[in-house]
C-alpha cells in the first residue's frame, strides 16, 4: 500500500494551493485555491487530473474536501469546484473559515468583475450555494468522514480559523499544515498540534530559508514610520485583505494611538472590515489566550480610534491612516487610492506580508520603482515612501524545522514556497532530521510506501504478563496492568513473548505459552545456551569426578 500525493497547486510556487492525497481508496483534497497572479485557466488547479480517464463525476472521485483557511489562494476555487465542476461530496472547514470565507470570495468577485471587468467564473449565488454545503469543524474535534477515515483540525495561527488538518485512513496518517505560524501575534496564538504518529507531513514553506528576528523591533519600526509620516502631514495607505493583517495592525495602531494620545483618524475602507470585526467578536474563542482573557472586560475588536470612511475622503487634505482592500494592491479600492496618493513624497505605503508575483505590491517590494505601468495607457509616478513590513503570519524556516522535528513523520512534502528555497530546506530536512523530503512541482505525484498493521487478539493473561515484567522494572507505575500516565502511552522495555495461534477463519490470537500447552497437546523442551568453555569445564569435572569415584571404588575394592 502507498500514499499517493498529487500536487495540483502550490507546487514549487505560492498560489492556488491544492493537494489531493489518496490513501487506501479514500481521497482527500486539501485546499482548493486560486492563483492571484494568473487571469487565465492557470488560475485554478487542473481538477480534471483527479478523474479517471473518461470519467466526469468529481463526487465519486473525491471523498471529501478540507479547506485550511479563508485566504483566496486556499479557497478561491472552491465555488468553481462545487458549483461549476459539480462536486457534491462533503466539504469541511473550521467555523471561522466558514463564516469569513464568503466575505473574501464576494470581495474578490467584486474586484474582478467591477474593477477589472473580467468574466466571472462563478457568481454570488454560487458562493452562497457552495458555502451552504460546508460542514463546520471545531478544533480537535474528530470527524468520522467514512468508516476507517477520520479527520481532525489543529490550531495553525496564521489567520483566524486557520487549521492544520490531520487525516487518518486505517493505520496511515498524514498532516497537511495549510499556512501556519509558530509564533503568536497580536491577536492569534501560535500553532498547536499533538505529537502524532505520521507517515507523511505536507508543510508550507513560504519562508524556507528565512529566519526572522524578534517581532517587537519590526513593530516599533512600523509604528515609527507611520508616526513620522502622519506628523509630517502625510497619508498612510495600508493595502491589506479585510481579515487578518488588518485586525492585527489595527490592534497595534489603536493601542499606540491611545498611548501617544494621537487624534489623527484611522479609517477602514468599505464596511467590509467593520463587518469583519463583528465576526471577530463572536469568534473570540479562536484568537490568542491573551485576547480571550481580556474579553470579560472589553472586546478588543471594539477599536476606539477607528472612524467610518467615505469615498470622498480620498481627496481630503491632512494626515490619516487608511486600511484599504484588497491587499497586494492587486486592483480595486486599494489601487484607486494608490493612484491618488503615490505621487506625493509625503505619503507612505505600507505593505504588510507577502505579495504574489504579478501584483503591484510585488513590484513595489522588489526594488524601488519610480514609475508603474498599470496598462498600456495608465502609469503612476511613485514618489511616496514604501515601507515593507515583514509581518508575515507564516512561520519561518526555524519554525518549519521545529514542527517537522516535533511531529517526526516518515516523509515530508514541501508545498507553498519558492523552488530554490525549497531545495535548500529539503537538504536540511534530509540531512538534519533524516527524513525523506520531496517538493514536487504542480501536477506531479509523490508515492509514499506504507505498511499496514495486522489486527489480532490477545488474551488477558498475555497482556498482564507483559505488563507485570514491566512493573517489576519500574515501581513508579500506578496500576498493575497499564502504567504510564502519558497520553501517548507506554511500552514494555523488554521483549514480550507469546505464541501466535492462527486458526482458519478466526482472528489470529496471541497467548501465553502455558495457556496453549494443554489445548494443543504440546510439550516443553528447554534449550540452554552456554559458552563453549563451560562445556569443557563440565567435561573435566565430569570425567574428573568419575575418576575420583572410580578411584574410591577401587580403593574400597582394594581394602
Amino acid at each position: 500500500m502507498a500514499i499517493e500525493c498529487l500536487v495540483l497547486g502550490a507546487g514549487q510556487e505560492v498560489g492556488k494551493s491544492c493537494v489531493v492525497v489518496t490513501i487506501g481508496g479514500k481521497r482527500v483534497m486539501f485546499d482548493c485555491g486560486m492563483h492571484m497572479g494568473h487571469h487565465d485557466s492557470r488560475r485554478y488547479p487542473d481538477f480534471a487530473r483527479v478523474l479517471a480517464p473518461g470519467a466526469t463525476d468529481y463526487t465519486a472521485a473525491i471523498s471529501c474536501v478540507v479547506i485550511s483557511h479563508f485566504h483566496l489562494d486556499h479557497i478561491g476555487a472552491l465555488p468553481y469546484f462545487t458549483e461549476v465542476c459539480g462536486y457534491h461530496g462533503p466539504v469541511y472547514m473550521t467555523y471561522p473559515t466558514k463564516a469569513l470565507a464568503p466575505l473574501m470570495l464576494e470581495d474578490y468577485l467584486k474586484v474582478m468583475v467591477d474593477h477589472r471587468g473580467e468574466e466571472e467564473q462563478y457568481s454570488y449565488e454560487d458562493i452562497l450555494r457552495c458555502m451552504k454545503k460546508v460542514i463546520p469543524l471545531d478544533l480537535k474535534q474528530t470527524i468520522q468522514v467514512e468508516k476507517d477515515f477520520l479527520i481532525r483540525a489543529y490550531y495553525a495561527g496564521h489567520v483566524l480559523g486557520a487549521a492544520m488538518i490531520y487525516a487518518k485512513v486505517g493505520d496511515a496518517a498524514i498532516v497537511y499544515t495549510g499556512d501556519y505560524n509558530m509564533a503568536p501575534d497580536r491577536h492569534l496564538g501560535a500553532a498547536q498540534i499533538d505529537r502524532l504518529k505520521l507517515n507523511l507531513l505536507i508543510t508550507e514553506s513560504t519562508y524556507a530559508k528565512t529566519v526572522r528576528d524578534s517581532k517587537h523591533a519590526r513593530e516599533r519600526e512600523f509604528l515609527k514610520a507611520v508616526h513620522k509620516c502622519v506628523s509630517g502631514g502625510g497619508k498612510v495607505l495600508i493595502p491589506a485583505f479585510a481579515l487578518g493583517r488588518a485586525q492585527e495592525l489595527c490592534i497595534l495602531l489603536d493601542d499606540y494611538w491611545e498611548r501617544m494620545n494621537l487624534k489623527i483618524p484611522i479609517y477602514f475602507s468599505a464596511g467590509l472590515t467593520i463587518q469583519a470585526n463583528m465576526y471577530y467578536k463572536m469568534l473570540i474563542g479562536w484568537t490568542s489566550q491573551k485576547i480571550k482573557n481580556s474579553y470579560t472586560v472589553h472586546n478588543p475588536f471594539d477599536f476606539k480610534h477607528v472612524c467610518h470612511f467615505e469615498r470622498s475622503f480620498i481627496n481630503n487634505p491632512g494626515p490619516c491612516v487608511l486600511f484599504a482592500t484588497p491587499g497586494m494592491v492587486s486592483g480595486g479600492f486599494s489601487l484607486e487610492v494608490f493612484k491618488k496618493w503615490a505621487p506625493s513624497e509625503k505619503n507612505l505605503v505600507t505593505l504588510p506580508g507577502y505579495c504574489v508575483a504579478g501584483t503591484i505590491g510585488h513590484k513595489l517590494m522588489s526594488g524601488k520603482p519610480t514609475r508603474i505601468d498599470i496598462d498600456k495607457d495608465t502609469h503612476i509616478d511613485v514618489r511616496c515612501q514604501i515601507h515593507q513590513l515583514s509581518f508575515s503570519p507564516h512561520t519561518d524556516s526555524k519554525g518549519i524545522m521545529d514542527l517537522t522535528e516535533f511531529l517526526s513523520p516518515n516523509h515530508v512534502i514541501l508545498v507553498h514556497g519558492e523552488k530554490p528555497q525549497m531545495a535548500f530546506l529539503k537538504e536540511r530536512i534530509e540531512s538534519e532530521l533524516g527524513m525523506q523530503c520531496y517538493y514536487p512541482a504542480n501536477n506531479e505525484t509523490v508515492s509514499i510506501p506504507i505498511t499496514q498493521n495486522l489486527k489480532i487478539n490477545a488474551t488477558e493473561k498475555f497482556i498482564t504478563s507483559c505488563c507485570m515484567d514491566e512493573t517489576e522494572n519500574n515501581l513508579q507505575k500506578q496500576s498493575p496492568i497499564f502504567g504510564s500516565d502519558m497520553p501517548e502511552g507506554c511500552g514494555t522495555e523488554g521483549v514480550a513473548e507469546g505464541i501466535l495461534l492462527m486458526e482458519k477463519s478466526k482472528t489470529p490470537k496471541i497467548l501465553c505459552e502455558d495457556e496453549l500447552l494443554h489445548s494443543l497437546g504440546m510439550e516443553k523442551h528447554f534449550v540452554h545456551l552456554e559458552p563453549l568453555l563451560s562445556s569443557r569445564i563440565e567435561e573435566v569435572k565430569h570425567t574428573g569426578g568419575s575418576a575420583v569415584q572410580q578411584g574410591s571404588l577401587a580403593d574400597s575394592g582394594c581394602e
Binding site: 474528530t142 463572536m282 492462527m502 516443553k524 523442551h525
Partner: protein, 682 residues
C-alpha cells in the same frame, strides 16, 4: 467492570444530576460530581431585618450542605479520573479536590461546562457569604445547631426531601460549603475538551464527549477501553433551541449504555400522567416492533421520530406561555421575579419575552442581577461551536447569536452584579422584570426582591416545578404575589428511549431499577438489561475476554509459523508491546536472540540421532561424542560435537538441550533451527 450508582440525583436531574463510580480495567472513574442543595431549604433565608416573614422552625445559621456521596467513594478507594457531563455535575468537585488523595486524579469537562460551572460555583460562594456576613464566620467550631433540637429538625426536613435515604442522613454527611480558593484549585485540575475531541486517559482509555442537547456544554461520554466501549448517557434532548443537538450518532456501536437520564422518573410529569404515557408507549411499541428488526429505511423512520421537532415546539410553547403571563403581570402594573437557574431557559425567555413586549408595545426595564451576569451574557455570544444549528447559521450570516446582544445595545436589558450595585438604583424602575439567583430562595437577590413584592398580588414569581414549592416558599408566607410554576424538558422522553436504543444497538443497557417499568425488556430485543440502584455495586460482564492488538508488518515478517494441522498454525512471537491511545501494538523487537535460556514447544519427539542427521543435512560436520554410548536409552544425555563451520557441543536429554558454543550466534541458530525441524517445535 463494576458500576456503583452513588446518587440518582434530585429534582429532574438538571440541577442535581446522578453520579456513578465506574471501575474499568483497574481504573476508578467518577461520573459526575454534583452537589445537592436541597439541605438549604431547612435553613432560614438570609435575614433581612424586621421585615422577615415567618421563618418558623427553620434553622437560623450558616447553612451546611449534604456532602456528595462521591466524597466517601473518593476517600474509600481513591479516584483515577472524573468525567463531568454538565456544569451542574461539576459543582461538588471543589469538595473533592481538597482531599489529599486527589492529587493525581484527572478531571475531564467540556470547555463550556467548565466555564459555566466555575461561574455557578463562584455565584454560590458569593451568595453563601451573605449568611457568613450575617451570622459571623465561626468556621472552626461545630455550629451550635448541630446539637439539640434544631438538628433533629434538620434531619427530619432532609428526610422529607429524600425519603429513600432513611437513616443515611447523619451529621457526617453534612459539610460546610467550599471557598473561592477551593474553586480556584478545582478549576486548575480540570482538563478542557471540545465536543468530538478524543482524549487518552492513562494510555488505555479513550474518552470522547458528544453534545447531549440539554444545556450549553453538556455532554454524553464515550469511554472506550481495549475490551469494551461504554456510553455514559446523562439527561439528553434530541433537538434543542439553544444548545447543539444530541449527537446520538457518535454513540452508535458502543457495547454498553449506562442510561443515567432520570428526568422521566423525577421529572415534571405527575404520576397519573406518567402512567398514561407508559401504557401509550407500550402499545405504540408493540405496533412498531417490526420496524426495529429491519434496518435501512426503518432506521430513517426512527431518526425522524427521534428528531421530530415536538420537543422544541413544546418547549417554545411553554416559554411563550410564560412570556404571556409576564406581559399580563406587567400590564396590571406588577413586577416579575424570575429566579430560574437554567441558562438556556433564561436566554430563550429573554428573546421571547422581549418580542412579546415589543409587539404589545410595552417598555419595561429588564434586569439581570447576578455576580456573573455580565460574564455569562458576554460569553454566550462568543461560543458558536456549542450552539444549535439554527444559531450557528446566525454566525454564518453575521448576526448576533442570541437576542440579548440587541437588548443590551438598545438599553432594554441591564446587567448588575448586586442589588446594591452603583447605578442599579438610578436605573431601577417598577414595574420591571428581574432575572436573578437563586431558585432555592434562601440566598441571592431573589430573597430580597421576593420580600419586597410578596404582598403585591399584581406581581409575578416564576418558579420551577419540581422544587418543593411549599417548603421553598414557607418563610415568605403569607403570599399575595402570583406564583407561576413551570416545568421544562429535562431529558429523553420515555417514548423515545426504546427507539434510541434500537438505533444505537448496544449489547447491554445499564438501566435504573426505579425506571424499570418505563422501559420493560422485551423478547427478541438484541440487547439485554442490567438494572442498577443507588448505593449498590453491579458487576458488569466483560464484553470481550480478549484484547485487540495490532501487529506491525515488521513484527509479522519475523514470524516462523508452523502448521499443526490443516486449519491451525502456530508461531512464536517476540515483540515489544506498546500502548498508545488505547491501542496495544506489538512492534518488532530489536534483538531477538539475546536470551541464553529458551524453550521449545513441540509435538514430535526430540531425538538426538534425528538432530544429528538434520544437522548433517544442513552441511554441518558433526558426530556423537566418542565417549557417548549409542545404545543407551533415550532419556540419557547424548552429546553431539560439531567441528565445522564452527565449534560447538550439544548435550541433549528428552527435556533439555544445552548448546555450548562461543559467541558465534549463527551456529547456535542453525542448531535451534534443526531442533525445531525434527520435532515440529516452535
Amino acid at each position: 467492570m463494576k458500576l456503583t450508582c452513588l446518587d440518582t440525583g434530585g429534582d429532574d436531574g438538571y440541577y442535581t444530576p446522578a453520579s456513578h463510580l465506574l471501575e474499568m480495567e483497574g481504573l476508578r472513574i467518577l461520573l459526575d460530581c454534583p452537589v445537592d442543595l436541597s439541605a438549604l431549604t431547612a435553613f432560614s433565608p438570609v435575614p433581612l431585618g424586621a421585615s422577615a416573614g415567618d421563618a418558623g422552625d427553620l434553622i437560623h445559621a450558616v447553612p451546611y450542605y449534604r456532602s456528595p456521596t462521591a466524597v466517601a467513594a473518593a476517600k474509600a478507594g481513591g479516584l483515577d479520573a472524573v468525567l463531568v457531563s454538565s456544569a451542574t455535575g461539576l459543582l461538588g468537585l471543589p469538595l473533592l479536590t481538597r482531599l489529599p488523595g486527589f492529587v493525581n486524579t484527572k478531571v475531564y469537562v467540556t470547555e463550556v461546562a467548565a466555564r459555566i460551572g466555575r461561574l455557578m460555583m463562584t455565584e454560590l460562594v458569593e451568595m453563601h457569604c451573605e449568611f457568613v456576613r450575617c451570622y459571623g464566620p465561626g468556621r472552626d467550631q461545630a455550629p451550635v445547631w448541630m446539637e439539640g433540637e434544631k438538628l433533629k429538625k434538620l434531619l427530619s426536613a432532609l428526610q422529607k426531601i429524600m425519603p429513600e435515604d432513611e437513616g443515611n442522613t447523619n451529621l457526617a454527611s453534612l459539610m460546610p460549603l467550599y471557598s473561592l480558593e477551593n474553586i480556584e484549585e478545582c478549576t486548575q485540575k480540570v482538563q478542557h475538551v471540545k465536543y468530538g475531541e478524543e482524549v487518552c486517559f492513562n494510555g488505555i482509555l479513550m474518552l470522547k464527549a458528544s453534545s447531549s442537547g440539554l444545556e450549553l456544554g453538556n455532554c454524553v461520554w464515550t469511554i472506550k477501553g481495549p475490551r469494551a466501549s461504554m456510553t455514559y448517557l446523562p439527561s439528553s434532548i434530541f433537538v434543542s433551541a439553544h444548545a447543539l443537538d444530541f449527537d446520538y450518532s457518535s454513540l452508535k456501536g458502543n457495547d454498553i449504555i449506562l442510561f443515567s437520564d432520570f428526568s422521566s422518573l423525577n421529572g415534571m410529569y405527575d404520576n397519573c400522567k406518567m402512567g398514561e404515557h407508559v401504557v401509550d408507549e407500550i402499545d405504540g411499541f408493540l405496533a412498531c416492533d417490526s420496524v426495529f428488526r429491519d434496518d435501512g429505511i426503518d432506521e430513517d423512520e426512527n431518526i425522524k421520530y427521534l428528531c421530530s421537532n415536538d420537543d422544541i415546539t413544546e418547549e417554545i410553547e411553554r416559554i411563550s406561555f410564560i412570556s404571556s403571563c409576564i406581559t399580563d403581570a406587567i400590564n396590571s402594573g406588577g413586577s416579575v421575579l424570575i429566579p430560574i437557574g437554567r441558562l438556556g431557559v433564561v436566554l430563550l425567555l429573554l428573546e421571547h419575552m422581549s418580542e412579546t413586549l415589543h409587539s404589545s408595545n410595552m417598555k419595561v426595564p429588564i434586569f439581570m442581577i447576578s455576580e456573573t451576569a455580565e460574564e455569562i451574557i458576554a460569553f454566550t455570544n462568543a461560543l458558536p461551536e456549542w450552539l444549535c444549528k439554527s444559531r450557528q447559521e446566525k454566525l454564518f450570516s453575521g448576526e448576533a447569536l442570541f437576542g440579548h446582544v440587541k437588548l443590551l445595545k438598545e438599553g432594554k436589558l441591564s446587567l448588575f452584579p448586586h442589588l446594591y450595585s452603583k447605578g442599579l438604583l438610578a436605573a431601577w424602575k417598577e414595574p420591571c422584570i428581574v432575572f436573578c439567583p437563586h431558585w432555592i430562595l434562601r440566598h441571592g437577590p431573589a430573597v430580597h426582591l421576593l420580600h419586597r413584592w410578596r404582598a403585591d398580588k399584581r406581581c409575578l414569581l416564576v418558579l420551577e416545578q419540581g422544587v418543593d414549592a411549599e417548603l421553598t416558599l414557607k418563610p415568605f408566607m403569607p403570599l399575595a404575589i402570583q406564583v407561576l410554576g413551570c416545568s421544562f424538558l429535562s431529558g429523553i422522553k420515555v417514548e423515545k428511549i426504546n427507539p434510541l436504543l434500537g438505533l444505537l444497538k448496544p449489547k447491554l443497557v445499564l438501566f435504573p431499577e426505579g425506571q424499570k417499568s418505563l422501559c420493560p425488556a422485551r423478547e427478541k430485543q438484541p440487547w439485554s438489561f442490567l438494572y442498577y440502584s443507588k448505593g449498590k455495586t453491579v458487576e458488569v460482564p466483560n464484553m470481550r475476554e480478549e484484547f485487540d492488538v495490532c501487529l506491525t508488518t515488521e513484527a509479522a515478517f519475523g514470524l516462523q509459523p508452523m502448521q499443526l494441522d490443516k486449519t491451525t498454525a502456530v508461531a512464536r512471537l517476540k515483540a515489544k508491546l506498546l500502548l498508545s491511545n488505547g491501542q496495544y501494538v506489538l512492534a518488532a523487537a530489536k534483538n531477538q536472540l539475546d536470551q541464553s535460556e529458551r524453550h521449545l514447544l513441540h509435538r514430535g519427539t526430540v531425538d538426538a540421532s534425528h538432530l544429528l542427521s538434520a544437522l548433517q543435512e544442513k552441511g554441518i560436520v558433526c558426530s556423537f561424542s566418542a565417549d557417548a554410548d549409542n545404545s543407551a536409552p533415550t532419556d540419557r544425555e547424548r552429546v553431539i560435537s560439531i567441528t565445522s563451520p564452527g565449534e560447538a557441543v550439544v548435550k541433549m536429554t528428552s527435556e533439555r538441550t544445552t548448546i555450548y558454543c562461543d559467541d558465534d550466534a549463527k551456529i547456535a541458530e542453525h542448531i535451534c533451527d534443526a531442533l525445531r525441524s525434527i520435532c515440529n517445535g516452535i
